[in-house]
Symmetry: C2
Amino acid sequence: MIGLLDLRRRIDAGDLRPRDALAAARERIAGGDADLASFVALADLPDGPIDPSRPLAGIAVGVKDIVDTADLPTEMGLPAVWGGWRPRADAAIVSQVRAAGGWIAGKTASTALAYLDPTPTRNPHDPARTPGGSSSGSAAAVAAGLVPLAIGTQTGGSVIRPAAFCGVAAIKPSFRLLPTVGVKVQAWTLDTLGLFGAGVDDVAHALEAICGRDMRVGEAPGMVRFGVVVPELGGAPEPEMAAAVDRAARALERHGMAVSAVSLPDDVLGGWHASPIVQGYEARVSLAWELEHHRDRLPPGIGGALDAAASITAADYDAARGRARRARGALRAVFADNGVDVLLSPAAPGPAPARDTTGDPRFNRLWTLLGVPCVNVPGLATPSGLPLGLQVIAPFARDTAALAAAGVLERVLRGLD
Amino acid sequence: MIGLLDLRRRIDAGDLRPRDALAAARERIAGGDADLASFVALADLPDGPIDPSRPLAGIAVGVKDIVDTADLPTEMGLPAVWGGWRPRADAAIVSQVRAAGGWIAGKTASTALAYLDPTPTRNPHDPARTPGGSSSGSAAAVAAGLVPLAIGTQTGGSVIRPAAFCGVAAIKPSFRLLPTVGVKVQAWTLDTLGLFGAGVDDVAHALEAICGRDMRVGEAPGMVRFGVVVPELGGAPEPEMAAAVDRAARALERHGMAVSAVSLPDDVLGGWHASPIVQGYEARVSLAWELEHHRDRLPPGIGGALDAAASITAADYDAARGRARRARGALRAVFADNGVDVLLSPAAPGPAPARDTTGDPRFNRLWTLLGVPCVNVPGLATPSGLPLGLQVIAPFARDTAALAAAGVLERVLRGLD
């Protein structure tokens, strides 16, 4: 993988010109993406001057194909309906990346309308396995070392799960910390932009550069109190993941961190059951045009989900939104009542499964609904070398706490190598 | 004006064919809009069959030009930047209108990017005066009797204020009751879709038809407790408006309603001061592409506002969002503590001013920030015949209460004629 901060340090030291860093990324993509299929459109290298002092100067960025770009196609993962579509304006986050000096290297593969139907993208660790989804190309492109930064979105588990399967760091920040203006809507109370990078400090730097808020992890915090939570939601994690959680918890303790087991109260778990109702109802409203005019061009996953959502009434939706509100309040109490700063939880049920699915978002959708920051920390793997991701979860708006704790875990896991 | 429910009753009785109702609207627009300038694009009449039983069959609908339409241009009130733009998909609310049987008659004039710079649109009551903005064309088209229903948006006061100036009914529903998917974003925590019609029962029917929830006012509620509130925010209302509020309050009392004076606590008023900070910060993020690439093509109002917003820091914004949250909680207590069902308040400082502005949103922006339903009730006027609008405000999600109370006020004001 290509570390964003490594590149920035070389640029700051005068050892690397930003333009050469971008050209190298362009060459890596040209050489390495034919089999991977992580990109669906490529940009020309910039021809103007590049100010090396800007925080993302020299950084090639992959952008999920449901995010509007004025100079590149935006086909929503569904070229049968959105083929050749060119927005007039950039999405707000694209403007932010460009303002920070970053270069949009191209558009990365998204599942159709950011739902569960697989893309052709391969997992760099095993081409027979899924990179996860829906931000399939963004996770795979960073994992394969093509670009140091990529942008994705999560409505159920579409950032943290592919990061876990591909063994890269990623943050799904607090809801609306990154602006979704110009991003194809699936579910407006859930859709959340996220960032992929080689390590936790890379995504922290990128988040700070993009949103203009202090996010740097800086020096390691002295002590972090981790609450380990393995929610029994839709089934236990696979044995390899359960072992990975235990291994990480013991390693954190050895490094002086406080680690305790946390269980979630029913009011929090209620949010998990509310999530598919909220997502289905909003998706059917948001994607009404596709459903009305192009039902026959939708792949089975999203087509079937939109059909099924016809049975969700406004009253069902209102009740689910009420459960989501209660769950948010109840989660705030979980941190306080258990005396923990962050939660540590599986980022996915296990390693990446075969390519006929994008994997199961059951360990993600609760946190998306709750709008709290989640960071995938890579570093553990199955005996055969497939990545196993753990996520660190902080209270709403405590993105820096999530990143700092994730950085601690990342360093501890590196020490296990 | 053309009453939506009048048309529907004639269609239901078999006295009017939906297609003839649409053709009549098309002819009225062709004949009457040259001087009014309420429409910026017109659709062809539909050529397929029309099911007369659908709730908006036979209803011609004007749609503000910041709302995406697949079959009509969508120029954001800013043709210098967005000229000739044709979205591929309909906005969600356009799909909802079509699903309810409505016909999109055309796009109505919006101020540039839905901010304060005036459009060429005239006020049907006095061509030297503004129809208000930013939903200028939607309010004027209904007031001039061109269409029975129009769609607008409100970020500060862009639905209720033009409705007041043009003497039509309008609802700005609870935040997110109508989906903003496919609507140009100015400020994502404020932007709210709204509906214009001849009378309160017309907008209630349309809201129900569009959002699929029970909104009909039905029989008059026996007794409604009105709290009269004239917030001293940015200056008192003009004398004619102050007199109109008193007149309405006395008339409500004579008709057996409970009327009391309500003053807003500081925590609620704090929301008013937070509103321009939230709006400015979000607009600068949302409209970054226009600002970066087309600053010279922005009219002075929106251009200057975006420039000025550069000084709003993320910390300012976070503090303003915190004040907004506190204001929402404090407003809930206002209803309970004062024992009132709804609030009654000026919808604008006075009648429509001259056309060099779109008027002052100072009596609207607090309620937009708070996300509560507001209904403009027409019926009062200055001695020279200019409309004076009063708004009825209900707690969040109590849109039916707002509409029912507005219906009571509308009937009482009609009795004053």
